[in-house]
């Protein structure tokens, strides 16, 4: 059974002055997806999202959306975003990179205010707010002025504001930008929970490694063009030539280990990343390399703490695609 398309972008072109920011972008977002758009800063992610929600008008191409009433009726055709701006605004919830709410109002006041702007009844709005406060973990702080909230709480409030009218699609532009690793982890968890509640999520980020475990589909955007669209695994298997060995030893004389490893003629090492407490080794022949590493460790009296062999991360695929472009 085919999935229901909630957003469809067709040959989208957008330029500011002479600069082409989006150049023939096409993809579909299906119901229930966590659709990630990855790209470097300035690749056109924000422009793409803003054009999709109708805030910007495309120069060429079209963006379609599925009205809420047609979510279970696949026979009904999609509608053009730019001809139904007010309707489409009820379909999606949008949280930009910068939190967008009133700093002088409390959490609950913000939610009530934005909910009322969607023309919701008080009963439904209160019910939604209650659920959202629980979901975002802001229940205890609901009467706190937004200005006094921490960065992570402000981000969660922003997402709550975007979800207050129960949109079918939540669009998040760089949701974890400016957040520390712990808060980033919490944010991804929140996004996962929102998706589990049935909300389709479209997000952009440049934290590729974090999107890998979260997104069901990823579009790689570079210089205004979509280089590839697919699930993380599809992309990995499509583009991987290396595997990565995550190695943690004690006392961790990684430089010497790498030197000795590179001297081995039967092992090809493409890239090594020293993370201080561990190293990541990229090699097309992980099994041979692992044998060799264990041998070297024995020679050096290095104690093994942890070792894992993985397929390459999205980071590597992204770098590879970008280099080829």
């Amino acid at each position: 059974m085919s999935k229901v398309t909630v957003f469809e972008v067709k040959n989208l072109v957008k330029q500011f002055g002479q600069k082409i920011v989006l150049d023939g972008v096409s993809f579909k977002v299906e119901k229930g997806d966590i659709f990630g758009v990855i790209g470097m800063s300035g690749s056109g992610k924000t422009t793409l999202l803003n054009t999709m929600i109708g805030f910007l008008d495309p120069d060429e191409g079209e963006v379609f959306y599925r009205p809420i009433r047609a979510l279970d009726n696949t026979t009904e055709s999609l509608k053009l975003v730019h001809k139904n701006k007010h309707e489409v605004e009820t379909v999606f919830g949008f949280a930009s990179q910068d939190p967008s709410f009133y700093l002088q109002l409390t959490i609950i006041e913000n939610l009530r205010h934005f909910g009322s702007l969607y023309g919701m009844s008080k009963k439904i709005l209160n019910s939604n707010i209650e659920k959202l406060l629980k979901l975002t973990g802001l229940e205890d702080a609901k009467k706190t002025i937004a200005r006094s909230l921490s960065g992570g709480m402000q981000k969660r409030l922003d997402i709550a504001c975007a979800l207050v009218h129960s949109p079918q699609v939540l669009i998040l532009d760089e949701p974890t930008a400016d957040l520390d690793p712990i808060l980033r982890k919490q944010m991804w968890e929140l996004i996962r929970q929102i998706n589990e509640r049935g909300t389709t999520i479209l997000l952009s980020s440049h934290f590729l490694s974090e999107l890998e475990g979260l997104c069901t589909k990823i579009a790689i955007l570079h210089n205004g063009k979509i280089l590839e669209v697919g699930s993380p695994n599809e992309l990995k298997y499509l583009y991987s030539k290396n595997e990565e060995i995550n190695l943690e030893t004690a006392p961790g004389r990684y430089k010497k280990i790498i030197e000795k490893l590179k001297k081995s003629s039967d092992v090809k090492i493409d890239k090594v990343i020293d993370k201080g407490h561990k190293i990541i080794i990229y090699t097309p022949k992980s099994e041979q390399a692992l044998h060799r590493i264990l041998h070297i460790m024995e020679q050096m009296n290095e104690k093994l703490l942890d070792v894992r062999v993985n397929k390459p991360s999205l980071n590597e695929i992204f770098e590879s695609l970008v280099e080829n472009d």
């Binding site: 910007l56 934005f114 004690a250 407490h277």
Partner: protein, 637 residues
């Protein structure tokens, strides 16, 4: 509609959350009005101090001082004019009046009063000038009235004298006229005397001629008779008469001849010489009489001529007397035409008594319309600018663009928020004005509300436009204050606009919305009776046009800002990314340092420990490191 209400509610919450701005915006104007009310709610110049200098303080000087005191002015006496002027410079007194030694008026000298004032104090100089002028004018008027009364009484006397003289002249004219009549009669009598005498009328020559011709005729008759007798005698034989008869006839003829001859002799004896003589004598006598008559005629003619001249002279005199009479009458009439015979009216025919279209009010009440519009203008502009800037600078600005609520709803919400706040302030101001200052608001409240609504709307839209046009809060507030100050300075509240060049005056008076609003409100509050709305319709319409144009510009500005919003967002983000990259470099250095330290510690700890123990310790160390790294990251942020 619900959206509109919610946005207005939110605006109020935001405004009231910032206690300082709420105090300034909401209570500031009320405080100003309250203080102004306390300070200026009187009609008298209680605080004005005037210094008086006179060489000698006579009774008349004291009268002058009393006149000043009657105006509730504080009087300070000086014995040196320089001291008095110095006190003005020190701001101890506001003006100095210099009185002459004597206040007596004469033809040789007028009483001159000099007053010194600090002209840099624009408002006070007028007040003091008016006050001093008023007091001096009062005194001057009293003096003038007294002098004028003397003049008027003299005029009355003159009128009476003219009346008396006119009566005498009239009697003189009458006498003259009688004289003229008498003389006329004399002339008539003289003229009636017949002095005509013509000797020829007696025809003496004709008598003479007739006598002569008669003589001749008689002679001729005699001759003829004689001839006839002779003829008859000759012809007697022819008559066939007997002799007797012939003789008888001859005898008869002879007798007749004899008679005729006697007659002839008689005639020849009386041949007219004596008659002629008599006629001549008579003629001579007649000529003498004629000469005498001629003399009489000449004398009479001369007499009549003289009498006529006399009559003419009398007429001329009468005419002159009449002229004098007329002139006197004219003079009297002229004096009589002076209808205003009250000295006070002559001295001050145009008094400065103000007709009660605007009753004598306190300073505050007089200026209340302008003050109300001033409050409306500044609060309207500043509040609307602040609300727009709060919205523009709020992180929520973007979310407002992507909610299904129209832009115009946000614009109207901002407008209504400002309008409600100003309406509340106005309600308090007008309430206090009506109850405490007795302002005539209730009599004409519909017009006043309409004017205030239109004026407030205009200034709110103007403020919103400023808010949309400027980027930062500081510049927008500065612009709002500048616009308000400009409109305020170009009004007559501070400096009389009449002092401007005519073209500028006309322009400012006709087009400055602050002046228009103030004037409209003044006409509706101060004037008695208030000006009807139809007479003010043009000005009201002009304000409506201003407000409409401002609203259209606000809508355009809102659209433009929405269109540019994303561009600004992208720029802001680019700047932040650049900044982040710098931070990341520092962060990396910090992290590297931290990693090295942890590594060293781990190495030390791992020495001499069991494999399992080592692993556990290593994991703990790694966990600590991660926490430490996270801490470093947070610190960097």
């Amino acid at each position: 509609m619900i959206n509109l209400f919610k946005i207005i509610k939110k605006n109020f919450k935001i405004l009231l959350r910032s206690k300082t701005s709420a105090l300034i915006v909401i209570f500031g104007p009320l405080l100003i009005i309250f203080l102004m009310g306390l300070a200026f709610n009187n009609a008298n110049p209680f605080s004005i101090k005037i210094g008086i200098y006179s060489e000698s303080y006579s009774n008349q000087t004291e009268e002058f001082l009393e006149a000043f005191r009657a105006e509730n002015v504080n009087i300070v006496k000086f014995t040196d004019i320089e001291d008095c002027i110095e006190k003005i410079r020190d701001n101890d007194i506001h003006a100095c009046v210099e009185l002459p030694a004597t206040l007596e008026v004469s033809n040789e000298r007028k009483v001159e009063l000099i007053y010194h004032v600090d002209s840099s104090n624009l408002i006070l100089v007028d007040t003091i000038g008016n006050l001093i002028s008023k007091t001096i004018m009062n005194k001057s008027s009293q003096q003038s009235i007294s002098l004028t009364n003397i003049l008027l009484s003299k005029l009355e006397e003159t009128k009476s004298t003219i009346d008396a003289q006119n009566a005498q002249l009239s009697s003189l004219i009458e006498s003259n006229n009688q004289l003229k009549v008498d003389l006329g009669k004399v002339i008539t009598n003289l003229k009636s005397i017949n002095t005509e005498f013509d000797p020829n009328a007696y025809n003496l020559s004709q008598i003479k001629e007739k006598s002569q011709s008669l003589t001749k005729a008689a002679d001729s008759v005699v001759e003829d008779t004689l001839d006839m007798i002779e003829q008859l005698e000759d012809d007697v034989d022819d008559f066939c008469l007997n002799a007797s008869e012939e003789q008888a006839l001859l005898d008869d003829l002879n007798d007749t001849r004899t008679v005729v001859l006697v007659l002839q002799t008689e005639l020849s004896n009386n041949n007219g010489s004596s008659l002629s003589r008599l006629v001549n004598n008579l003629n001579t006598g007649l000529n003498v009489v004629q000469s005498q008559f001629n003399n009489i005629e000449n004398t009479r003619t001369e007499a009549i001529s003289s009498l006529n001249k006399t009559i003419d002279s009398i007429s001329s005199i009468n005419n002159k007397i009449s002229d004098i009479q007329k002139k006197l009458t004219n003079l009297k009439e002229s004096i009589g035409q002076i209808k205003i015979t009250r000295a006070d009216v002559i001295v001050s025919p145009f008094t400065t008594k103000v007709n009660q279209i605007a009753a004598k009010e306190t300073y505050l009440k007089k200026k209340m319309p302008s003050i109300i519009i001033l409050v409306v203008m500044f609060i309207g502009i500043l509040l609307a600018t602040t609300l727009v800037m709060i919205e523009k600078k709020s992180p929520a600005h973007f979310r407002n663009y992507i909610v299904p609520t129209r832009d115009i709803t946000f614009i109207i919400a901002t407008y209504l928020t400002s309008l409600i706040i100003i309406a509340l302030q106005l309600a308090i101001i007008l309430g206090v004005s009506v109850t405490v200052f007795k302002l005539n608001f209730l009599n004409n409240w519909i017009n006043i509300c309409l004017i205030l609504f239109v004026t407030t709307s205009l200034f709110i839209f103007l403020g919103m436009l400023i808010g949309y046009l400027f980027k930062s809060e500081e510049t927008s507030v500065l612009a709002a204050i500048s616009v308000g100050s400009l409109l305020f300075l170009l009004s007559d509240l501070l400096i009389p606009i009449e002092s401007m060049p005519l073209y500028l005056y006309n322009f400012v008076k006709s087009y400055n919305p602050f002046i228009i609003g103030s004037e409209l409100l003044k006409k509706s509050i101060i004037f008695i009776p208030p000006t009807p709305l139809k007479n003010m319709l043009n000005d009201v319409l002009l304000l409506v046009i201003y407000a409409t144009v401002s609203l259209i510009l606000v809508i355009i500005a809102h659209k433009l800002i929405r269109a540019n919003y994303l561009g600004k967002l992208m720029i802001r983000r680019a700047i932040r990314i650049r900044r982040m990259k710098k931070v990341t470099k520092k962060e990396k250095e910090q992290l590297k340092k931290a990693q090295k330290e942890i590594k060293k510690e781990n190495t030390k700890k791992m020495d001499g420990r069991t494999k399992a123990g080592k692993k556990a310790k290593a994991e703990k160390a790694i966990s600590e490191y991660e926490k430490h790294a996270a801490g470093v990251y947070l610190k960097m942020k």
